[in-house]
Symmetry: C2
Subunit: 340 residues, 2 copies
């Protein structure tokens, strides 16, 4: 990448802004300790404008503009281009890497999958926080990346920036991973934890919504669908096997009652929404697990994953599963791993 | 390394044999999936002979010989050299990497530190399971490695092969680690877990000795000294700071009574021997931690570490902390990470 890595951010919500803040706040540390300088040359949103500045955009001005509601608030300057077509911008900009952090669509993976393909075809690396393209179109995108000699990385798609993908693919290389089982949705884990504290499901959900953990429509979380989407990604990353949502046995947490929670507690167990994937298949469902299981200790919105391996036995990673800065770090970690 | 990596194993106890078994049992998998073939050309022990065969030693014959008590049981063959001086063997053999897994000496780091220096000086990479050289002589050995363009890796020295070093140095690169706190000694965690089950300290210790978790002289474990040694390594790996054993506040578990354990339980807490290290210093001592802490769920001989980071908050890794195969994997992971 020479002196600096030029970046195009597609999507500029909480996660994209999180990455921008990290690049701003840790610029000196990243340059001195990681020999990395990230320069944002393009930002594209679907309803709040796009910007392209081959000389590099000012991160404080970007954050200020989006804070005022639109990239159109970014001040005029020489060579600045606005409101381009996103696919054209991706293809024609001077970025070394495209950072895809638009909204996830687990059914089609679009339009993000097309954005990723355009980036790879035009010779740019792709790093994603968007889960859709990896869940739906991984094989095609990976083949495209191999063809153009570029990388497709997606640490931020599962457990935010907690490095569960890198742990499996790099640090555990040489081990055979037999199964992954985890708590991959923080919202439902928060609700179950609150129910253990005595709240009803409805009150715990309202609590999660008040704190911003749950959406106004919480269906994707509480039905288990979000966790299923992450399993599709893990199935690809760990077992090189494509699954579709329909192939996953899915039961959410909406049927769990305070009496269920109490019965588990009386037996020395806790209810967790457990997502499992192996070469044989995968499932998402509430399970009663003994308190001696490392996953049982995972409270609140925290996520965790246990890899069952041939040489080490179980290896468990526990950490943040959401958040703009935390997910932004996942993107940064992938950028640091790109070939220089 | 070309087609295969030639290895010299210094020390051939449980850990060295563990690595040899992995290289034997997973030869096809490592070749196909990791493009790695490890060939043992030399094995050296201090009291059970040495072997050097530039054409490569047979792993089944090595394991058979050591199983019968001595490398001298390895059958004669052309070009096989026996019972050489270890330093001379290290310097003059054709190995690409020297695997140091002799007994740990936390005071002097010797003779392993000299073995490592000889390996680096003669143009060989070094990977260690032996904690002594990293705890005592890391800066000197690292400078030597930099001078000769070789690597010095030591994943297996803390938490066996559970990749806590690689997690911190690679997967979390870009985060600032503020503190590490962990359960780094499985023997004491096993004893504390058994005491929670109602055993006295003496009975729990006897139990640990019967199962092979504790030595006949358990002082190094129960005094906290083993955990302190691992903190010295983490201080170097995480903070580039050398500490000596005397600088660490150390309290073992010998003073913990069943009444203490019960009082903790009544308060919703568990006693753990917690090892902490930050830029400010380090300590090993029994601490009462709430059951909501991921470290509280770590039972039996399992180890765990929590890195407190600036961007992700706490990240916890839980896994095996001992065992021949588990530690052997730590050595393999380092070998896989060596430049090809």
């Amino acid at each position: 990448m020479g002196e600096r890595m030029k970046l195009a951010l597609i999507g500029f919500g909480v996660v994209g802004q999180g990455l921008a803040r990290i690049l701003l706040d840790k610029a000196d540390e990243l340059r001195n300790e990681q020999q990395f300088t990230g320069e944002i040359v393009a930002v594209a949103t679907r309803s709040r404008g796009t910007l392209y500045q081959p000389n590099g955009l000012s991160i404080p001005k970007l954050l200020d503009a989006i804070g005022r509601g639109s990239l159109n608030q970014y001040p005029d300057e020489a060579r600045l281009a606005r409101n381009q077509d996103i696919l054209t911008l991706i293809r024609e900009c001077s970025a070394d890497a495209v950072v895809e952090c638009t909204h996830t669509d687990f059914q089609s993976g679009q339009p993000a999958a097309d954005y990723c393909a355009a980036a790879l075809e035009s010779g740019k690396h792709v790093v994603l926080a968007n889960k859709g393209p990896v869940a739906v179109a991984y094989a095609e995108l990976r083949a495209l990346a191999a063809k153009t000699g570029k990388r497709l990385l997606f640490e931020a798609t599962v457990m935010a920036g907690t490095p569960c993908i890198r742990l499996a693919q790099t640090a555990l290389a040489g081990c055979r991973i037999e199964e992954a089982r985890g708590i991959l949705n923080g919202t439902t884990n928060y609700i179950l934890t609150q129910m253990e504290g005595g709240l009803s499901y409805a009150d715990a959900l309202a609590d999660a919504q008040r704190l911003g953990y749950a959406e106004a429509d919480p269906t994707a979380d509480v039905s288990g669908r979000d966790a299923v989407g992450k399993l599709l990604i893990l199935s690809q990353a760990l077992f090189n096997r494509k699954l579709t949502i329909d192939q996953v046995a899915m039961t959410g947490i909406t049927g769990i009652t305070p009496a269920d929670i109490e019965a588990a507690r009386a037996a020395g167990e806790r209810y967790k929404l457990i997502a499992r994937v192996s070469r044989e298949g995968c499932s998402v469902r509430p399970e009663r697990i003994p308190t001696s299981d490392p996953l049982a200790a995972v409270s609140g919105a925290t996520n965790a994953i246990t890899y069952q391996t041939d040489l080490l036995g179980p290896v468990t990673l526990v950490g943040a599963g959401a958040g703009g800065i935390q997910t932004g770090f996942g993107l940064l970690a992938d950028l640091l791993a790109l070939p220089q």
